[in-house]
Point group: C2
Chain length 195, copies 2
Amino acid sequence: MTKAERTRQFIIEKAAPLFNKKGMAGTAISDIMEATQLAKGGVYGNFENKDEICLEVFNYLAKSLAKATDKSMEGETTAKGKLFALLNYYNDRLIKNNAGGCPILNFGTEADDTNPVIKKRVNEAIDASQNRIANVIKMGIEAGEFKETFDADMFAVKMFTMIEGAVLVSRVKGNNKHMELITGMLRGEIEQNGK
Amino acid sequence: MTKAERTRQFIIEKAAPLFNKKGMAGTAISDIMEATQLAKGGVYGNFENKDEICLEVFNYLAKSLAKATDKSMEGETTAKGKLFALLNYYNDRLIKNNAGGCPILNFGTEADDTNPVIKKRVNEAIDASQNRIANVIKMGIEAGEFKETFDADMFAVKMFTMIEGAVLVSRVKGNNKHMELITGMLRGEIEQNGK
C-alpha cells in the first residue's frame, strides 16, 4: 500500500461507523474531519466527492460483514451447526455492537429512493447474504442432514427478511428480545427440516 | 380548523413523501419550500424547527398507515380473511405506491442512532402494528377458526419482521418478487393454523 492508499483506507474505516449510524445524508464532512483529525483538504484530497466516500464506506462495511459471517461458521462441520452459528452471530454481534447495526438495512433504506449506485451495491450484498444461507442448506441436503423437501432458496429469503426486520425492531426498542424470538423461531424451523 | 392549522396540515402532508423518500437528514428546508410553494418564513412560521416537522410528518404517516391497514381488513368477516387482506395490502400498496415505502422502516432505521423522540414514536407504531396482527389471530382462535396452539404474539412478530425485511429487499431490488414470496409463505402458515 502506498501512503495515499493507507490514508484513503484510514478515512474509510473512520467514516464507516459514522455513515452506518447517521446515514449518508446525515454524515457531514465535518464529522469525518473530526473522526480522522484531518483538514477538509486532507479528506477531499483522497476522494472525488462525498458520493465516492459513501460508496467506499458501504463496500468496506459489506466486505467486513461478509467476512465476519463467514468466519462465524468456520469452526462448524455440519450444515445445521453453520446455520446456528450464523444465527448466533446475528443475535450477539449485529445488535449489540456499537457500530450502527446492519449496513444492508441502513444503506438500503436510505438509497432506495436516492442513490442508484449504492442501491445496486446493496442489492448485490442482499444476494450474497441469501446465497450464503441457501448454499449451506443445499450442502446439508446433499450430506443427508436435511430433508430433500427443505426449500433452500425460500428459507434463505425467509431467514434474511426476518433477520433484517428483527434488526430494525431490536434497534428501535433498544433491546435484543425480538432478535432472540426471531432466531429462536428460525432455529426451530431448521430443526424441523433435519432428518 | 383555523387558517394556521390548515397551513400546518398542508405543510405536513406535502413534506411527508419527501421525508419518507429522502430521510430526515436528507430533506432540506428548500425541498419543503419547493413542495409547498411557501417562503422559508411561511414554513418556519408554523413550526418551531425541523425536528418538529419531522415528528409531525412521522405522526401523520403512521396514522395514515394505521388507517389504511385497518381499512384493508374492514370488509372481511373472518380472521383469516382479515389477515389475508392485510397481506394483500402490504403486497399491493406499500411497495407499489410512489411515496417511499414503509415509514416505520424509513424513520426507524434513521432514528435508532440519531433521534430519541422519533425512535420512541416508531417503537409505538411497531407495537401497534404487531398488536393489530395478534388481535386478529386471538379473535380467530376465540371464534374457533384457528387452532388453540396458534401463538398469536409470536406469529405477529414473525409476520411483522418478514414484511419489513421484504419491504427493504423489494424496494432495493425495484420489484415485488420478494414481497410476493414472503406474503405467500405467511398465507401458507396461516392456512396451516386453520382448524
